[in-house]
Each structure stands twice: as structure tokens, then as C-alpha cells.
């Protein structure tokens, strides 16, 4: 990356700035996905190599867990990084925000104040109550706190975006798995209980990644996280529209089929097994062996603990050699 000389980018710098934004985007993507092993940080003694996997990844995850949105801006007000929370607040995909002027996301009548605060040389005390978006009646009102930061190559701005109502987001965090963005065990159990109150129908599938410990031990936890994320996306793309999917444990996923007989459960289980094989994760991660899952399934039967029956079926699938499904019908 080209180190800037401290002066603000001018229009003639636009190509360099675009390149710079693309590079920072790559960097954020690399850190998120675990593609980078280490960071080079400036110290008084010169550049120093610091392994990723400790504080940097934790820092990144911490940012994403905050109830406040966080945005990094270049000196000309272009978005370099936007947290998921901020993307949710403005109602747009995070990727689409990178490279856009921040003020475009602020209501028209508030923009002059925001521009003035961003142009302030010492913005550390700037706190503004503004409305996001162009539709004044439907967009949330937020507090913007603007801070100066040092990014490699330029001085930029952090904008902390505090929603006046955190409750909805906190509720989301309680019931979702942060890594995969699927429901977590608590969220799944809540949906299952709700379903069982309404109907004694459907089925539960429990899915466990085969030899997951080997991946963690061989390639490290970042690769393990990458594997889980990819499998989660593969499974989520395979389930039916009204099925509920969750990550209920380290390498364990669960699916609630709200309807369907044994044939439908068998069919979905087969599709799920195939979807994981088709990901080719062993090759993608350079693991030297293919990645598979085992599945235990159980039909919902009044009086039986469907989760326990599905769990027993899962262990049967493991005992029989893995990479297979065992589905227990009504007589279990």
C-alpha cells in the first residue's frame, strides 16, 4: 500500500483511492476469513510480525458483536469498512457500502452537520443526533460519535453509530450463532418448542462434522471456523424454505423440518450429505482428506424426545462408518 504523506486525497487521487479501498477491503476479507497468518505492525524498533489468531481476530469479532455500528472512513468521507450492525441499521448489504460516501446514508437535512464534523481536524468530541437514510419517517435516529484513527497510510475516521434502541439487536445476538449467523441452540430450542406446541409433525435432523477435531488440530482454529462457515452455508442452501437450521454446538448443526414423512426426511438427509461432499472442503483447505458429515434424524412422535432420538441416530451413523444418515421412524 502506498503510504500517504498526510494530506487529504484530491480528485486526481481518485484512482489511487479506489485501489486503496480495494486493498483495505481485501485486508478486511483476509482477516475475516483467516486467509492471513500474521500482521506487520509498526513499532519503535521498526516493522514487527505479529501472528493473527489472537488479539486481532478477537478485536475484529468484538467489533462485530457490538450493539453499535462501526464505520471507518477515509479523509474524503468514503466508507472503508462497515460492521454488520451498521449495515443492518441502514438496511443494505455490508459489501455494497464499501467505497460509498458516508453522507449518502444520512438524511438530506442532516448532511451539512455531518460533513462539517467529518472535516473537523480534531473531531474527537463530535457527537451528533441524526437520522439515517432518505425516508425520514422510517429510518432510525442514531447518535454518531466521530473519532480520528490512524490507518496504514492515512489518517481516517471511525464513526460509532449508536442506535437509540439496542434491544432488538441484543435479542438477535442471544439467539444466533455469531460465526455462521445461523440460529444457536437457544434459538433452535425456542423454535422447536413453538413448533411442538402447534403440531406433532415433521422431524429433526442433527448433523455432525466428521473428524472435525482433526481439522482443528491440523490447520488450526481459524481453518476450523472457515470449515464450519462453509458447511453452514452449504446446509442452509440445501434445506427447504420453511425448515429451521441452527448451529447447536461446536461442529453440530440441527434442522427442524416442520412437515414431512420418512421419505421426505430421507430425501433431505441425502441432499445434505451430497451438499457437503460437493463443497470439496478437503481440497479447498489442503487437508489431504475429504470432509463429510454424519446425520441422525427422527420423526416427531408425541411423547418422545425428538432431540434425544435424533442424537441416538446420529451416533448410530457415526458407528456405522460416518458420511451417512440414519433416520428413525415412528416406531423408535
Amino acid at each position: 500500500m502506498n503510504r500517504a504523506n498526510g494530506s487529504a486525497p484530491t480528485p486526481s487521487d481518485s484512482d489511487a483511492l479506489k485501489q486503496r479501498i480495494a486493498e483495505l477491503e481485501d485486508l478486511v476479507t483476509a482477516l475475516r476469513s483467516g486467509a492471513a497468518d500474521a500482521l506487520v505492525v509498526d513499532t519503535d524498533a521498526g516493522p514487527s510480525v505479529r501472528p493473527v489468531g489472537g488479539s486481532d481476530v478477537l478485536y475484529q469479532r468484538l467489533i462485530e458483536r457490538l450493539p453499535e455500528g462501526l464505520v471507518a472512513l477515509s479523509l474524503d468521507g468514503t466508507i472503508l469498512f462497515a460492521s454488520r450492525r451498521f449495515a443492518a441499521l441502514v438496511g443494505e448489504p455490508g459489501e455494497s457500502l464499501i467505497g460509498r460516501p458516508f453522507v449518502e446514508l444520512i438524511a438530506h437535512h442532516e448532511r451539512a452537520d455531518v460533513i462539517a464534523a467529518l472535516e473537523d481536524d480534531r473531531p474527537d468530541d463530535a457527537h451528533l443526533l441524526v437520522q439515517l437514510g432518505a425516508e425520514a419517517d422510517r429510518s432510525p435516529t442514531v447518535v454518531l460519535s466521530i473519532e480520528g484513527i490512524e490507518l496504514p497510510g492515512q489518517t481516517a475516521r471511525w464513526v460509532i453509530v449508536s442506535d437509540t434502541d439496542h434491544q432488538a439487536y441484543l435479542h438477535y445476538l442471544v439467539e444466533h450463532d455469531f460465526l455462521t449467523e445461523l440460529l444457536n441452540r437457544r434459538g433452535f430450542e425456542s423454535q422447536l418448542a413453538e413448533h411442538l406446541e402447534d403440531a406433532a409433525a415433521g422431524a429433526v435432523l442433527i448433523i455432525d462434522v466428521d473428524h472435525f477435531k482433526y481439522v482443528n488440530d491440523t490447520l488450526g482454529h481459524l481453518a476450523g471456523d472457515e470449515l464450519l462457515t462453509r458447511i453452514a452455508h452449504g446446509l442452509a442452501a440445501t434445506v427447504r424454505g420453511d425448515d429451521v437450521i441452527a448451529r447447536i454446538g461446536g461442529d453440530e448443526f440441527a434442522i427442524l423440518m416442520r412437515s414431512g414423512d420418512l421419505t421426505a426426511v430421507d430425501a433431505l438427509a441425502s441432499r445434505l450429505l451430497a451438499s457437503v461432499r460437493e463443497l470439496g472442503l478437503g481440497e479447498v483447505l489442503g487437508l489431504g482428506r475429504e470432509i463429510s458429515v454424519s446425520i441422525g434424524g427422527a420423526l416427531v412422535v408425541p411423547g418422545l424426545d425428538v432431540m434425544a432420538v435424533a442424537d441416538d441416530a446420529l451416533y448410530q451413523a457415526k458407528r456405522e462408518g460416518r458420511d451417512r444418515a440414519v433416520v428413525v421412524g415412528a416406531l423408535a
Binding site: 500500500m1 486493498e23 483476509a30 486467509a35 492471513a36 500474521a38 506487520v40 521498526g46 516493522p47
Partner: protein
Amino acid sequence: MSPESSDGEHPQGDADHYTLRLYVAGQTPRSLAAINNLVNICREHLDGRYDIEVIDLLEDPERARADDIVAIPTLIRALPAPLQRLIGDLSDTERVLTGLEIVPR
């Protein structure tokens, strides 16, 4: 680490010749994978038109300044200009080929 040269001839003025620098940090899995992937991609797609220098920043961290390296592994395409950089273990061959403009984006 010593550079890998495709043929010993370095036609630096040749617009088709790639001068690549791969920044790594010791023998980490991503660094080793990046070296392996890069060599394979060059052998397969650049047909002798490349030089690779592997720079271990654990041995010589000052080298990070020259290309403003922030994350490791990072691959720099120094030539042909303009300079391009890719972060990661280079396992996505298609992304490497387009990122280095060996094939059109």
C-alpha cells in the same frame, strides 16, 4: 529465502514478464501453502515468464517497508506495472490469475 527464477534470463523490459514478491512469516501453514500454490500457478500459467522472490519477514522484517506489507502472506506483482497485491494463501487459482491480470478480470 532465495528467489525462484523461471529460466535465468530476466527480460525486465518485457511486458509479459512477471516479477513477483511473496512475503511470508516463517513456516506457517498459510505461508507454506502460498509458496506452493504460487510456484504451481506460475509453472502452469506463465510458461517461464516469471521471477519469484520469497521474503521471510521473520528473518528480515525491515523488508515489509518496501511494499508496505500489512498482512501475511501477501503477494506483490511488481512487474508488469501497475503494482498489484493479493493477501492469502493463493489457494483460489482463479482469483490469483485475475488478481495478477494473467487472465482478464
